[in-house]
Symmetry: C2
Subunit: 417 residues, 2 copies
């Protein structure tokens, strides 16, 4: 029986990853440079393929929002090119000596940063993920197997051809970048179980995609992205600052995972703060959903349901509750949150410290917007996603988070007695 | 419907983990001290329970080897007590500031080490794993849910009661340590899918246990232990040193994962080295299985099958092959190895460097026995296992590997523009 597409590409990726692990920074950067050039040169071919996907999408009556996510234009291609150039400019994490020590028996132990090997990326509509993921994985010395959605397959095929050829011609191993062309679900599921060839899977997309990968994968997964984030306005807060932060965290980009979905307000200041913040949020056209207590202060807003406390709206909706104090706020957030990003607005150092210590989330802020949870804003230069799990990587994942390590031990004949 | 045992204990563990995360080193160490004392004081109760397990095991006609693994005596209990004391003496990893920096907008970012949360341990016969896992998890601030095998359940129930009470009386949160008493497979499978309550699963046992966990778990898993390790004797090796290392790596403790199962010898020195090493291994009663080429030099040994190259014998059996040189050795090991521990014996620095760079394994040795892959031998003071995966932790896992991190960000009203 001949190999399936997944097995065939898995084997090739494994072989490529062995060579990539020992490829110099210079060659990797040169390949990134050539990939950027090739995207520029072949923009028309890519845009033509994208038109085919868009036509098909309109026939399938995809939503406007989805069609927008999968459509490309010159500006979006320029964005991809700039992304590659940023990744090229970042330091190469591979080969870093993380620590080293000598044992009493003379053994010298070095802990050295190495690539993860083969990374599988399972994603949905946005074709920039194709370029972005490939560039990040390559820079960290990994081979990548891409599995994008069916709605954008023609575009992805063309993009992959273009960057694949450029990388190979620049001296990277063949098959460093591969795309699974078969977009049936069975093929994605086969990839999720290809333990012999894939070291890590990173799903990039909405909740249902991530859940499907977590349920079906036997390969280690890094979960990214689900963000049911909260702002908690403590009783000593500067209320003007609090309103600014809440407005920014909700309205500056409501469709992203680091936007807030919930506002918790200390009982003691609720009567003063809620009308103030409502005025700001009204300007942003935010629909509020409140508890009974909140509705006593803000009559006319919708009643929040239990489900609302759990929901990542990704829209101009904000669920609002009052809490008795910092302990109550911590309990609410640890119960309903997704361990992404949480913020307290306060002037009380003890409350701030308690909040940061006891909240179980990737990033815990004091007096700042949750919108800063982002590889660029953290200074990592790039990111492949925001991890909401606690194993391996937490929060914004940059190049370091796409690596593992190994121990190199040098002896002079030591045996264990 | 009332909660199942797994859900009930999962909820309690989650609650305990929140408190444990902010419990001081002093209280954790005091609890460990009291757990050690309690084991000493209650040794008889534990040994009585163990007798019941042994009787039941004899009725079920368990093998001698298995009965030995699950049996306890005063010496083994002392070993557990010493293990706890070692863990007590180790530095507490929680709260360490891994890195900190300030962004141009004034945000101060701190990356701080925190516990993983709730750790599930799924294991088999050896009751010392109960004590050892609980102590390691607690010291790193984690709540633990233990799920041992049915053959040793009475012993595990008594041990857990003893250390649970001691920990609680010393001031640790109730339910920091819990045992799943129901040993049916369905219950283990429920635990493997208890994503709402368990942050990480660590299977400790043989290949089939680990495979079952990897196949069924939707919780992140750290795979431990499978070791198909190789020694490669390069042509410039000091042959006396090579024979000593091979003998040590095979014979000093053949049943453990860091013992070698395969010997690769450079063609150029095969005729000289193979008879020499066979003489040493004969003293250790090692059965050799060789390729055709090896059998020309060592007539009378068994022919190695393809299956032998893949097998972790965990016994006094060694598969022997010749290779054309370092590249051939690397290919063989990367094809058949389990990414655990590999060693090259050589005087050639380039060969050593190439081997360390290109072998994909947790620990790569030059001129030393693979038997050193162990938390104690690495200087970690303790270990919960040897990870053979690349995500999160690789090689010996000590207390640090039972932690995650979070980012604490301090601002003064920053919003994202």
């Amino acid at each position: 029986m001949s190999d399936s597409e997944v097995v065939k590409k898995g084997k090739l990726a494994k072989a490529a990853s062995r060579q990539l692990a020992v490829t110099s920074t210079k060659v990797k950067n040169y390949a990134l440079e050539r990939m950027a050039e090739a995207l520029d040169k072949n923009a028309k071919i890519i845009l033509d393929a994208n038109s085919l996907d868009l036509e098909a999408g309109e026939k399938k009556e995809l939503s406007r929002a989805l069609l927008d996510r999968l459509s490309l234009d010159g500006k979006r291609i320029s964005g991809m090119i700039e992304g590659i150039q940023v990744i090229k400019s970042l330091p190469d994490p591979v080969g870093e000596i993380i620590s080293e020590w000598q044992r009493p028996n003379g053994l010298k132990i070095k802990k050295v940063r190495v690539p993860l090997g083969v990374i599988g990326i399972i994603y949905e509509a946005r074709p920039n993920v194709t370029v972005d993921s490939a560039a990040l994985c390559l820079k960290a010395g990994n081979a990548v197997i891409l599995r994008g959605g069916s709605d954008v397959i023609q575009t992805n095929i063309e993009i992959t051809k273009v960057i694949q050829d450029a990388a190979y011609n620049a001296g990277l191993p063949e098959n460093s970048i591969q795309l699974i062309a078969d977009t049936r679900r069975e093929t994605a599921e086969e990839l999720m179980r290809a333990r012999d060839y894939v070291d890590v899977l990173i799903p990039r997309g909405g909740r249902s995609l991530i859940q499907a990968v977590v349920e079906n994968s036997t390969i280690p997964v890094i979960e990214t992205g689900e963000g049911n984030c909260h702002a908690y306005v403590e009783r000593t807060a500067d209320l003007k600052m609090a309103a600014d932060i809440v407005f920014n965290a909700k309205c500056s980009r409501p469709s992203v995972c680091n936007a807030i979905e919930n506002l918790l307000v200390d009982d003691a200041i609720a009567a003063e703060f809620l009308p103030l913040v409502k005025q700001r949020l009204d300007e942003g056209h935010v629909q509020l959903r409140g508890s009974e207590r909140v509705r006593k202060i803000l009559p006319g807003i919708k009643l929040a349901t239990e489900e609302d406390w759990r929901t990542e709206f990704l829209a101009l909706i904000l669920a609002v509750n009052t809490v008795a104090g910092v302990d109550d706020a911590i309990n609410h957030i640890n119960k309903y949150g997704t361990k992404h990003s949480e913020t307290i607005i306060t002037r009380d150092k003890n409350a701030a410290q308690k909040f940061q210590a006891e909240i179980d989330a990737a990033v815990v802020y004091v007096n700042a917007s949750t919108r800063f949870t982002d590889g660029f804003e953290f200074g990592f230069g790039a990111e492949i996603g925001i991890s909401t799990q606690k194993l391996h990587a937490r929060g914004p994942m940059g190049l370091n988070e796409l690596t593992s390590y190994k121990y190199l031990v040098d002896g002079s004949g030591q045996i264990r007695v």
